[in-house]
Subunit: 246 residues, 2 copies
DNA sequence: CGCCTAGTTGACCAGGTTCAACAACGGTGG
DNA sequence: CCACCGTTGTTGAACCTGGTCAACTAGGCG
């Protein structure tokens, strides 16, 4: 998708409107924020200075947050979909302790910290909205930990597939229990801390149990209820239906 | 420790003062917040309603945040030390997706959401300070994920022991590379997703490598540098030395 | 003393890794 | 159009980490 086809207005408005009802004054303040839209090829690092000076808002595409350890080992800690701000941490902490990488072609809006910080402190309700985002991200991360600690490997994969479907559906980016999964088996290995060989065999098991259909990048979940049950997936932690009053 | 021996004034003041410089006005607002101090025996659940109406601030003792899965399996997702607010999520999300349990005798201050929310929206700087806490907690959780995904089991344990020492030392609760670790081997198993049998053998390995001395509840780290190197521990993610200007 | 909890040990088994080879696919250049 | 190449996915076999079960030990406490 190219930037020209994106909705007009400040991209942050669209995000915030899903979280709170904006007053005209708040809206004007956000509209006044600088931003710059840039496109990225798949599998490109979204480079950061040591001390970042802007936030990035995902407009289209998937990003992953990862950290390299030792030589060559990579742990992916989050998958970021449109509407998320993967580096929000930089607004209030001095350094980033991880890297960002695109999985697909992506368009990102970069918003300088300075302006954003002053709007957020002038309109605390907006800060609250973004705060909620960070809390949900934490909840997703905790599920990740629960999966790594307690779930069987196939259960973990199934759980992630459920989670991603729920998040995409809430964004209007997936329907009918199918979506494009831009991860390679290597990526999945780096998400779960498993080898690609094992991922491959696990996917085959899930396929032959008719819990998933995965061909190339296209994933279908033909028996959603059974998959949800198998994964013990309970979407409460995603707080998708939450719309605050006011 | 009994509540009478705690420092006087509103307990939240002490926490915030470590994070930001409070104006007299801000200080007065926080002093005006209601709170109630309660003591808990070790290994007691700090019960929550489905929809919590207050936050809990740890004054003394250790808490853990956990979630039960299946029958009997427990995953611990965080250890909380004095000064932390384990259920801050409840301030801005409608339900808690985990439970809290004391590890030691603890004293907790409960602060009603309503008052806290209004103080935070009137003084956004205070909200920013607490926000930063949530971000650090997220960074700790990400390290947890990195450990589970990429580190060897002994490396994971060593990393946790380093992290806890760094956090305790920053609070003035540990020195000389030793501290009281209130976790049983069962607890450690539930932290790392390993069986107690395996934890036991790993601790023995660490002991015989002279990386740790652990007897009863008392843990010493006799060769800190070697342990740090072994664990690949880099405390940056804890943001311990960060003191904002103003 | 007896009981309970926490820690320790051994034997066996399952899940996951590693290494190595190969297959399928898409893109590129001749 | 085909040959070539790199990336991704697939398979087999040997090996190792960590789980399970079961028994036993060491302390703490009434």
């Amino acid at each position: 998708m190219n930037p020209a086809s994106l909705p007009s207005g400040h991209p942050l408005i669209h995000k915030l409107e899903r979280l709170v009802r904006l007053s005209p004054e708040e809206r004007r303040a956000v509209e006044g924020l600088l931003f710059q839209v840039r496109s990225f090829e798949p599998r490109r690092d979204v480079t950061h200075d040591e001390a970042p000076t802007q936030c990035c808002l995902v407009l289209t595409g998937w990003l992953c947050r990862y950290k390299m350890v030792d030589e060559g080992r990579r742990q992916i800690m989050a998958l970021h979909l449109p509407g998320e701000i993967p580096d929000q941490q930089g607004l209030y902490l001095p350094t980033m302790d991880y890297s960002l990488c695109t999985l697909t072609m992506s368009t990102l809006a970069f918003i300088p910290h300075e302006g954003l910080r002053s709007v957020l402190s002038a309109y605390p309700r907006l800060g609250t909205a973004l705060w909620r985002d960070v809390l949900v991200e934490g909840a997703i991360l905790r599920q990740w930990v629960i999966g790594m600690g307690q779930r069987s490997a196939p259960g973990r994969i199934a759980h992630l597939f459920c989670e991603l479907y729920a998040r995409l559906e809430a964004l209007g980016l997936a329907a009918n229990h199918r979506y494009e999964l831009p991860c390679t088996q290597y990526d999945l290995g780096d998400i779960f801390g498993l080898s690609t060989v094992h991922i491959n065999r696990l996917l085959q098991d899930l396929r032959s149990a008719h819990l998933i259909e995965l061909k190339g990048r296209s994933l279908a979940l033909p028996d959603w209820d059974r998959l949800v049950h198998f994964a013990e997936f309970d979407p409460t932690y995603l707080f998708l239906s939450f719309r605050p009053a006011g």
